[in-house]
């Protein structure tokens, strides 16, 4: 394992080194220590390597990830794995606001709680949260799935296009155009596979499914007086 001490090596150098690894690299396991809440740590990685981050980390950790597996042994700041394309980003603690924002693919696992706007504008990423998510989660979500083992804050799935939302606990309120939907055997099987893939021990039968009522797709003539 390659260990990099961020108290000694500047973050920019660390990111550059990880980004430039060749596809056939043998250096597949990395550990970053003394990270002290740095922003934009382990971003833009594009090879199937594993990066372990020891300690709490700042904003945009694992952003734009492709192929790599990133594990944060701590808490993380705003914009975890924003615009993730593929691979996996896992946080052992809590994540702040806008985790997985605009994510296009791959898997994000937050073992603790996520803050507000988790999965905002997600476009295909799968997000599994072991705890609860804050208000406005999955705002304008377009594709992918968000599974929450705890509770969801106010206005879940506001202005949702598509994307599948599963919540085991209580939902404080649903946002505009987000409705509860029937959990079909098809969705149950998908959720079961997702939880298994995330390594989260939860019973899929206890979840409820939410999704788009698809009423905001087109302008409704009844609303014409509002303009």
């Amino acid at each position: 394992m390659n260990v990099i001490d961020l108290a000694k090596t500047p973050l920019r150098e660390v990111n550059s080194r990880l980004q430039k690894l060749p596809k056939d690299t043998n250096e597949r396991l990395w550990k970053l220590v003394n990270v002290h809440g740095e922003h934009a740590c382990a971003v833009g990685l594009s090879q199937p390597i594993e990066v372990q981050i020891d300690g709490h980390i700042g904003y945009y950790c694992g952003g734009m990830n492709q192929e790599a597996t990133i594990v944060v042994n701590g808490q993380c700041g705003v914009g975890l794995a924003e615009n993730i394309m593929s691979g996996e980003v896992r946080v052992k603690g809590n994540a702040s606001a806008a985790a997985g924002a605009t994510g296009q693919g791959g898997l994000i696992v937050i073992e603790g709680d996520a803050g507000t706007r988790c999965g905002i504008s997600m476009k295909g990423v799968d997000i599994v949260v072991g705890g609860s998510v804050g208000a406005m989660s999955a705002f304008m979500a377009q594709a992918g799935s968000l599974a929450v083992c705890g509770d969801a804050g106010a206005n879940l799935g506001d202005s949702l296009y598509e994307a599948r939302l599963y919540v085991q606990g209580k939902v404080e309120s649903l946002g505009a155009d987000c409705v509860e939907k029937t959990m079909t055997p098809h969705h149950l099987a998908k959720l079961e596979r997702l939880l298994k893939r995330a390594g989260i021990n939860a019973d899929p039968n206890k979840f409820k499914r939410y999704g788009s009522a698809r009423k905001l797709y087109n302008f409704h003539v009844d609303n014409v007086d509002a303009y």
């Binding site: 002290h36 809440g37 709490h56 700042g58 700041g77 705003v78």
Partner: protein, 299 residues
Amino acid sequence: MCGIVGLFLKNPALQSTLGAHLETMLIGMTERGPDSAGIAVYHSPVAQGRSKLTLFNADEAYPWRKLAGDIGTALGVETDVSQKGNHALLVAETSESKVIDWLHANRSDVRIMGYGKLMEVYKDMGLPGAVAEKYGLKKMAGTHAIGHTRMATESAVTTEHSHPFTPAPDMCLVHNGSLSNHNNLRKWLKKQGQTFDTDNDSEVAARYFAYRLSEGATLEEALEAGLTDLDGFFTFTMGTKDGFAVVRDGIACKPAVLAENDDWVAMASEFRSLAYLPNIEKAKIWEPAPATVYTWSLH
């Protein structure tokens, strides 16, 4: 953009390290606010019947000793003054309101940065580390302290627009965000008898909370009322003589992280300001929820 930090010590054994920890936290917010910084430190309470005021004049050669002498003669009380940069700490053997009234009537060139029994306030231009160094933050012992770093995006870099705002004895407020109904609220507060030093929206919030507290509200009640009456974006951190509070608006788009263990409670705009606190690895760390009031008290 701004950075906010606050530290509230629960364990009295840590009081001698208050300033040193706040300095590290303040420096952590350098990238969020490299233009100016301000601090409010709750330490060295004055004896019964005395008050202390932090005063400011941009001229470092301002005759503070003469001012202290004039106040002493005019009010017939003992005074003591010590200079730090372009600030001075004045201790007077009378109530702060008497000194303030005298200053307003006789010394329009002196700005009052803060007053009370234990709070001292310093605000200056420059990098947070340089400001902390200049005012000897590292050596300040005490129970709690709040800091603010500013990156000027719209108005000038001046000390009067810098935080913390200090609307009442031993009370300070720092704000990250902007209020949209501050003009109406200012008008209303003026009708209630509040006076204003600046046109700043954060000062309106500070005076709003001071007004609520003066009407008998508890810290929690004042902040809860603020969630209804203040419109806009805010993460506030507030200090009172024995209390510490954090509240964010209902959208919560201005960042905040809280951390707490048995020894302390700490707040910062970003985690990197908390990264070097003692035993942070084992502290509870969370993001304060929208429209939720968090308060701590020494008693």
